[in-house]
Symmetry: C2
């Protein structure tokens, strides 16, 4: 093809906000393979803990670790590594809320292929809790922040990086961030030693075109960083959005078994295992976890496609109002909830 | 742009199997608008009837019709128009299984904006049951067939067309049809008077790239026909697949309220209403139907994301084995079901 023709093609592709990340794949005539370069991070214990106050038994976490290993899942997020002193704890939460390295080692005395990760929040971490990686069972530490706190996140990341961990920055609620602010965040991140940068759909309001747009932007702005995606299923688009990421070469894909996660939950791990074109993946062990554990957990606590969560998703809002509504006696009064959220002047009544 | 550049662009787009249907939209710089040219066909009563043996009350169907009208939904499928003489009836099914025109008129004495449709199966229709459209409450008759029966479907379509109805042909189980056979079917359809031709994902096994590929093929092969899509949610991709269709300009989008339909169910009507860029659509009336009726229906009968249905979806099989499994005492033994379906030599044990 002529040089000018190549330019035109690039412009067309760029206009559509797609495929920029897989031009190499296009060259290989395999544009529709999913996830050859992707790894799965299962966050059932961490994000699912937001549903059940981290009341997972040790047996559950051990069974999950074994199953994820057998399934070929690369990372298991075993909880939060925040400090109970810095985050008001009433003592009711399970041990995965404030991870302790010695405890992790008791739960998983022998680590196999699947690496362990933990999430921290800005301002909730006690540096003294973070041992050098060589002395810790953790491999990856992820920092969640809002765009306004990117400087603080980058500072934390440097600490973890210096202590030997793999690191991520997960900017939350991207759908509510102005482009100007996001560009400033990405500039800070470009200068940090972070390994993975996440596109996070906190409100479950983004669709596959939105993900293409954001991933393309991140890839263009951060050519030396690997990327990740974290999705929510409020609009039943979590899995489809994750497939877009896999197709564009995003390196880390968050998922949780049976979709267990806050409100509408996440991309189901079992669907990624069934669909991604990676020979090592096996869905069968995770089906065993669903059968043995998840059905019982779902009877006790709720997550998944629930109408109030769908409503906050379509309105691009935090699901906290939906979760509060579901906890009230009006839990199934969907029209009233919808009216509340779409009628600003009565919202605070 | 030069002529050669345009050719190149078309070739690139064609290679990716996308956007062929919205080149006009691209010209208007609005490629990511969903469904400006699409209409919704709600098939809750018809496909949902496969879940509950059509045991919907008259009140339910009347409430649904009112709500769909208020929501701006263009078509409501009120059931099957097969003959009870040609399809063994044990008399246990609800009246929406074998629609009678007089009965429809009693249920919906005053038709509003929302048109009425019915589905028929090959070999199950008594021509004498089909009045001229001017004497019938029905507007649209849809013919479902497997590819091998396309000739018969085209014959039926001609009958309905001659009696004044809008018509569709829905070739089922496209994922299990060889390209050679599909091309023969499409050639027959091209010569028929049918208005809409459907891409049907009977097994819920197709992903957004598969839909792009099929829709592009149908658009190229049938330039004078309008298209429709019917999706199933086994892999949680029904809504994402429908959005691809809407973006490509597909004219009829099937959906059901709260996703009620066989096995994993369909694209939820409420999600389409919330997402499509069509000013007339209102999600609120359908939220009212979910609140008043669907939760109770879901307590009595099951549909949605259930693991056996996910397994038949990933294996690209008819969900009948999953439905049978769910009706057995082993309903939650997912690993055993998976082993059965992936170990051919024990399948018939």
């Amino acid at each position: 093809m002529l040089y000018t023709e190549n330019i035109v093609i690039s412009q067309v592709l760029e206009f559509f906000g797609i495929f920029s990340g897989i031009e190499g794949e296009y060259g290989k005539m395999a544009p529709f393979k999913y996830g050859m370069n992707s790894q799965i991070l299962d966050c059932t214990v961490r994000d699912g803990g937001l549903v059940n106050n981290w009341a997972f038994s040790v047996e559950f976490v051990q069974d999950l670790y074994e199953a994820l290993n057998e399934a070929g899942v690369e990372y298991m997020e075993i909880g939060y590594k925040n400090s109970p002193r810095l985050l008001k704890s009433d003592g009711s939460e399970g041990p995965w809320r404030f991870l302790n390295d010695d405890f992790i080692r008791k739960v998983i005395p022998e680590k196999k292929r699947t690496k362990l990760s933990a999430l921290v929040d800005i301002g909730r971490v006690d540096e003294a809790d973070i041992l050098p990686r060589s002395e810790s069972p953790l491999d990856l530490i992820r920092v969640a922040c809002y765009a306004r706190d990117t400087e603080k996140a980058a500072e934390l990341v440097r600490l973890f990086h210096d202590r030997g961990y793999e690191t991520t920055i997960n900017i939350m609620a991207l759908s509510n961030v102005m482009d100007k602010e996001l560009n400033e965040s990405l500039a800070i991140i470009a200068d940090s030693p972070v390994d993975y940068v996440y596109v996070v759909d906190s409100y479950g309001s983004l669709d596959p075109n939105d993900f293409r747009y954001l991933i393309e932007k991140f890839q263009r702005t951060l050519p030396n960083k690997k990327l990740g995606v974290h999705t929510h299923n409020n609009m039943q688009l979590a899995f489809a959005n994750t497939l877009v990421a896999a197709q564009m070469g995003v390196e880390l894909l968050d998922a949780s078994v049976y979709g267990m996660g806050r409100a509408a939950g996440n991309t189901p791990t079992e669907l990624l295992l069934a669909k991604l074109n990676k020979p090592q993946y096996e869905v069968r062990p995770v089906l065993g976890i669903i059968e043995k554990h998840m059905l019982k957990l779902r009877e006790k606590d709720e997550w998944g496609y629930l109408i109030p969560d769908m409503i906050t998703g379509m309105l691009d809002e935090h699901p906290r109002s939906a979760m509060g509504w579901r906890a009230s006696e009006k839990r199934n009064c969907f029209v009233e909830f919808y009216d509340k959220l779409t009628t600003p002047e009565v919202y605070y009544k």
